[in-house]
Symmetry: D2
Subunit: 363 residues, 4 copies
């Protein structure tokens, strides 16, 4: 499997930026999960560019559900959703196709696919492909919701500005899921947006860190080796274009602590065993321990910038300079958020099904 | 698959800390790869505890190759290596089995396996299981060497002490692979060891960061979605007990840069296309770009410490205090190094086989 | 994975008989394979009902290639083809949904999917879903052709009438691939059609056996255990609705022979090692031996018949009688032929890629 | 994955006929399944050669459980069982290594593994490798037993002699599982043995057909596409050396019937929905329907015979004659029986876990 992921619940992505459409097949979901089209539209809207801080290429994202849904519920068979491409720019991509856009996949795609790759607008490497993932991810999120599991992500850092930390997961996650620019502290969010606009004005771009929390995951999900929760989640998350790091709990920060500081001591509280801290991010030995699962993704600054950059033309093997004057995002961190949520949801549906079976969801 | 990983090259791990043995099956490796038993022993020695900075439990690691090797070469069929356990402590683990060791997998294992887990010494969650991975990983490393691909890892940080950065990959990697405490700057290494001994004296432990570089990987390895090089490598690396973060290139550091700072500009040098910087760690769009692949793993401090810790007894559901006076490591960062190398090697063999086929290795 | 198959080359099917469409995603195919739309249409025409011996439901099969193809060649990324459903009968399937059609999947689908299954016209279990497989299978067949590998299938038996045996694979395969009712002996084909029409007149149906030969497969494809050629091919072929047996070489017939009769003796002919007979169907130890791969699929008679049948209503748990007066096929053997070819082609692309790699196809 | 099979429950085989040992890793089995060593020994005894009708190479099959079992129960982690080879003949296999034994894998192995294959006694292609499968298969059979599912196989045909048909599954399965030569009609069994001895006297060998029935499988196991019960089972069964055909229900026999004869009509009996016949072998649309699952495997005559056979020497590329005077079986049908049972059990554990989850087994 290359563009597919998961064992019990499997997602397959397809599509190119300027082809007929992008989409995904989500298979292995149980029958009877409500498919709320308003929710799918809401999720797609969170991914869609909006306003000054995004690219002016805005697609309506009118999707087609080709299979797996009947009368508003999943049927138990594969769910194929296609999002046709509508606003494909008429720009002649062929002219520039041999000039590498730094930190993009142009060169590796050319080499890997021997010149047959769809080079228009990044082709299959485009962030546009994530629209399919978000569409089917909405179904995964709905399934988790029925089991009392919820996911929320905030922009923990953007353009060097830190957001507040989670203080109350329950209420904050609900709020985040209704925000197009998901921060815990709105003042910080405004500062981030200003920095994004400054970068844009300077023909530059910015990156950031997304922090995700999962509530309600039962104890015992994940495996000791290979299909650890961390391994499965990171595998999925590194597919999101621009993600260059994934960490759980304190992540890289834990490396600087002493064991006595890092360890999560336990206590019995209201009859339940909990940890006093959550430095391990809800996962021990690869397996959920009942505490919130907390993870962070590093998102690099959008590689496409209007500033001139040194690069090469690989048809002539000569040095050249590139200035990308087309439509692009000065920041994709806020748009990547819902893709992270979708990926996490799909991966957890897979891991839960391994433990509890497909039939469990129908109870 | 749970305790198996990989598609074209697959590794399966088995074993418990105090069972009959630990081991691994490596399948999909081509026939004709030299199996150098001295090299396997060398690799196992790098994992083995040694001296003051490690646990006093030292195993001879006398392994048995049950299959897949004939006359010093791989046969092309599954290679099963078992490392029998010899020095299993007579300590009565049963006495303490319901007292959770903080940040260990005891509690999740009990819940997941319903009380049937092998609880002795961490069972299947023990770092001891990595011995099998290291043994078969030696074969993967040998295969890569034949194709001009080499892997080296140094302790980039330990107990808060930073090692030097890579300056010359070629020579430094060779040196690292012969060091039991792998650092680029020996003076820094001495400082790290002192800190480890201090931690030990304080009944505490320390963590660190391992940085790995891969040289010689051809352009075009990895897939755009899901089986990205980052996704596959992180999936494997998070199986190593204590790893809580994985990043590529600048990793989390890239989130703070502007696009113009983060992007790897290109140039033609000696007729070849290279990037001037390597902030993306040799990977664009999930695919190798011909530059060194650079990644880092955050390793948490050893959870087992001799300091008293608050915890619970989950058979009585009561709070209690645990003081682990047994054999344990004040630091496992240096021992985890060869496990990282092994995992990276196995994963790259898998990714290379996807692109080039099994037969390619035999040419 | 449930509705996906293959490792290096993976096919994912989706769709229901009366939903928006059916389709398939073919992933892992190399870049640069010619995508000949006339050939895709030809292949779909072989699957389409035609004339008296088929169902009157005829779809135009106007397909949409959503991804993975640019300028008439594969790009190396997933190929999604959707065949929208157009001629969906207005018949009220809801009325009869609880009356089990004998030997169909109605009852198991209801139980498995808890009443949420798409029950209209067999839903996901309908033979209509094979249209997607045939569309993407055409690409796999084209890829094999470039490597000198060809596949042909004839109706070895239908309604009790035996076709002639293969006498000259090369020329016969070419002829078969242009016939809508694929037989080696046309007189036998006419007898089969007469029997089909008789069955239809009697409100009944017939089955048969399809025999497939593959020429040009190199020695060494397939694995000794599990991913044997036989195992992989049979796994794929049993997905075709109505297939109840798969055999290779002499198949069940070999069980009655002595070893000295069954063994394929070898000889050197024109400098090449060949077997004098091909009782093992080109496969030893799960691996291709260079002789033609020969396999047969048993296809049961179409379960939907107009004769009254005893059955049950599972909403009332009462016995009842069903007479299926709708549109159906008195025989699907001839239509299943191209589905077999497609499945075999996709499976061989997968097995070849394991051995030779993705890049091999581009040479 | 090559020598591994299954998704939720995975079996990995390793070993060669004349290496240190053969074995298997069974992963994904739930914790708490009783591991009855007497039963493992019993199962291994059914596979072991015995008496005149088998090879004189008899191994004690003293196995080692390296992992995954504690105190007589599975722990939930991978179960590795090794069966060391003891009675490896001192015969110099090297002398004959280039002379192809007809219908064996010698030639394909040489080509596939480039001369590095373990050629001694068939190496990894030897039936000896099935000992590992039988050992871990015993655990799978025990797990199924706890859920009321039982498997039985009889020699439906051997050397042209037909056994009686199943008349009472419940009692007959129990009896078969205690017979070393598993037939329903002992008189027929004696005729088969006579024919085997005749073949042996003539330096020849015989084949046969094994028929398997599974009782107690719940409705709804298996998937509509690809992971159909038929597809999964056949995939596993074709790994058993010598199996050349797999069919379900009436199998190839169904091809000759009319739909009205082949269809399984339904009725309500004692409040339950059952089919009056079981021509589909308990499977509709790839999914279990609650009736006994019935399948048959064609087993070819042992290829190794003492009669002279024409063959080639592939080091000299010359024709030659081979007469195999070593130790071999005139028939392996009766020994293959327990391998079929083991494979079916492992595959069903996998399919059941997909539907019900790992935790279900612990209830």
């Amino acid at each position: 499997m290359k563009n597919s992921f998961g064992q019990n619940v499997t997602v397959t992505v397809f599509g190119e930026s300027h082809g007929a459409g992008v989409g995904a097949v989500l298979d292995g979901m149980p029958a009877g999960i409500p498919v709320d089209e308003a929710f799918i539209k809401h999720q797609l809207s969170l991914r869609r560019p909006s306003g000054d801080i995004s690219t002016p290429r805005v697609e309506a994202d009118n999707y087609i559900i080709y299979s797996g849904v009947l009368g508003g519920f999943t049927t138990g068979t594969p769910i194929c959703v296609v999002v046709p491409n509508e606003n494909t720019n008429s720009k002649d991509y062929a002219a520039d196709r041999f000039i590498v856009r730094p930190s993009h996949a142009d060169f590796v795609a050319f080499k890997k696919y021997n010149g047959f790759e769809d080079y228009r607008g990044g082709g299959h490497f485009s962030g546009r492909v994530t629209a399919g993932v978000v569409a089917v991810g909405a179904v995964a999120i709905s399934a988790l919701k029925q089991k009392g599991i919820k996911i929320g992500t905030h922009i923990s850092k953007c353009a060097g500005v830190d957001d507040a930390a989670f203080a109350n997961y329950e209420t904050e996650i609900d709020a985040l899921n209704n925000m197009s620019f998901a921060v815990l502290d709105n003042a910080k969010g405004e500062q981030m947006k200003e920095k994004i606009l400054s970068a844009k004005a300077e023909c530059d771009s910015v990156g950031g860190v997304l922090e995700t929390a999962v509530l309600g995951l039962p104890v015992g999900v994940g495996e000791p080796w290979f299909d650890t929760l961390e391994g499965m989640l990171s595998h999925a998350l590194f597919s999101i274009p621009a993600v260059k790091g994934v960490e759980f709990g304190l992540g890289f920060g834990i490396a600087d602590l002493m064991g006595s500081q890092a360890n999560d001591e336990l206590e019995v509280k209201n009859g339940e065993i909990i940890t006093k801290t959550n430095n391990n991010g809800g996962i021990n030995g690869g397996i959920s321990n009942g505490m919130p699962v907390v993870l962070r993704c590093a998102v690099k600054p959008t590689p496409t910038i209007a500033k001139p950059q040194s690069t090469v033309n690989f048809s002539t093997n000569e040095n050249t300079v590139l200035q990308s004057l087309g439509r692009h995002d000065p920041c994709i961190v806020h748009r990547a958020r819902v893709v992270v949520d979708s990926m996490v949801a799909i991966t957890l549906c897979d891991a839960l099904t391994a433990k509890f079976g497909t039939d469990w969801w129908q109870k």
